[in-house]
Subunit: 173 residues, 4 copies
């Protein structure tokens, strides 16, 4: 993965990344391809990528906190978060309020937060954090809010791509 | 999402959309990619998009009724409709008859109905409603029946695309 | 679906199709995309297309017999065949022998049989029938054996494409 | 599948293949597309290809040993290995150590081993074997380690492609 350091936009992105202490991820459409498998008994399943585990481990080893923030309360999110050993807040009607509460409790400022989303319910969070990130196939209405857009689509390596980017930046110089 | 208002075809579409009080969706191939997961015990699962929920909510908030009309009687359809909180009629051999009965009971005229389908068993419904819509990967034999074809394939954002289109039209001017 | 009648190759295909009384389908890679979902308890699931049902119904209404012939004995094949209401022979080490036994019992000659396959274990059957068909993503080693190759990949509409082709030919003049 | 014998690189690959007595496969991302289906009870499923069975059988018939070596301990790997009738070592923190122990017990030298991987935790194994292979969508950071990269993506025929390649080489001349 080559990385051009010259453009002012890249330079700004690097400066922002270096300050980040917490990355907050939406779940559906970010950790997954935004699809849900529906069974006859109403149970659900989602498709996640095995690539995320290695990426998130690297990020946590670098001292960055990771949080999943999901509107819907769903056991699959709990299970995935448990396996990846990351924090998870679910069932929040107002994601921005929840995010602000969380960073206050953890003495983190909005200048130190990156948020990764894919749809219009992520807009309030994308608007307040220092580093708003969207996946490649995010809804058009939130594209204006993003500082960085992943090359990978949601659920198809987007989380890993972000982790790899952070690692390259933080381990350089 | 840019939206060009000039073409006569677009103008006609906008006029039709403004009159719609009910959108009827086929399920398989519209809410799903027309695939079914078959298990050893004969149970089935389907793949739906999380993007639909936010779109359907917007449509319902605008006062438009939403109905799923499916030939096959299948628990997965029931479960998905329950979760999305939309009406659902299943196990109907004659979809056009069922549609006409439904609109009579609800005092809606065919001029106020949009129908979204993907295969030849949707033809009778597409032929009678004011706004017949097909998904991008609909069967070639029903393409002549459509006034609008989604850019998205069935189950891959087609329902959300329709909801977003209705929202843009109805909130404009 | 446009259909050009002029080429000698097309003419030969049409002549062959008009004589067919039985279409034999391999299951994995033809009715499915050749993938299998493996669960923790060893149970399996496969992905089929809802488009097949309407196609197979048309074929059967035209008086053509349909048979699934699968090397592996697997409950998912049984369940899918039951739902589609088609005959199914599974767990046969020698598919060509099984095919010959079946047509003898049903007084059908090899000149009246089409066979649809995707991999090298279909080779013996493809070599003996009048109309050997392969799906678009069949293994390269059986491409020489085919008279017709579907535009669709296995499990992604290949069965429907074949049914539609038969219908167009048999209903024309 | 045409096979050009002229390039020095191809010649070297052929020489390496002719010496191989053991092919070691990573599981996730090689036998699968690196995705995992997560259920509400935390259970998991993966998607494998039916094409692998015929390929692995050919390889084993040619006298080559096959081993799956997976970092994570997961019942789906056990089930798939059982069905494919291949050896499987799971839950190993250090894959290179495990690989070396295995070949010592089986009197195989590293010169006789091919390893197929897709991510950075495969790097130590790829670095020590005679024939390091990666799948088409392997992580960029291990591309330098590979002598051969499959045309197929992981889980989409990569294992079969390798088996077919070995068969062509070993049955030629």
């Amino acid at each position: 993965m080559k990385f051009i350091l010259y453009s002012p936009r890249r330079k700004k992105l690097i400066q922002k990344i270096k300050k980040i202490k917490l990355i907050v991820f939406d779940f559906d459409g970010v950790f997954t391809n935004n699809f849900v498998y529906v069974f006859e008994d109403g149970k659900e399943a989602v498709r996640c990528s095995r690539a995320e585990g290695l990426g998130l481990k690297k990020i946590k080893d670098l001292g960055i906190k990771v949080l999943i923030l999901s509107t819907e309360k769903n056991p699959v999110v709990t299970r995935r978060a448990e396996k990846l050993e990351i924090l998870c807040i679910q069932g929040c009607n107002n994601k921005a309020d929840e995010l602000i509460n969380f960073i206050r409790r953890n003495s983190i400022s909005l200048e130190e937060v990156a948020y990764v989303g894919n749809d219009i319910n992520d807009k309030p969070c994308l608007e307040i954090v220092a580093l708003p990130i969207i996946v490649n196939d995010a809804h058009p209405d939130i594209r204006v809010n993003a500082v960085f857009q992943t090359r990978a689509r949601g659920g198809e390596g987007a989380v890993r791509e972000i982790c790899d980017l952070f690692e390259k930046i933080l381990l350089t110089k």
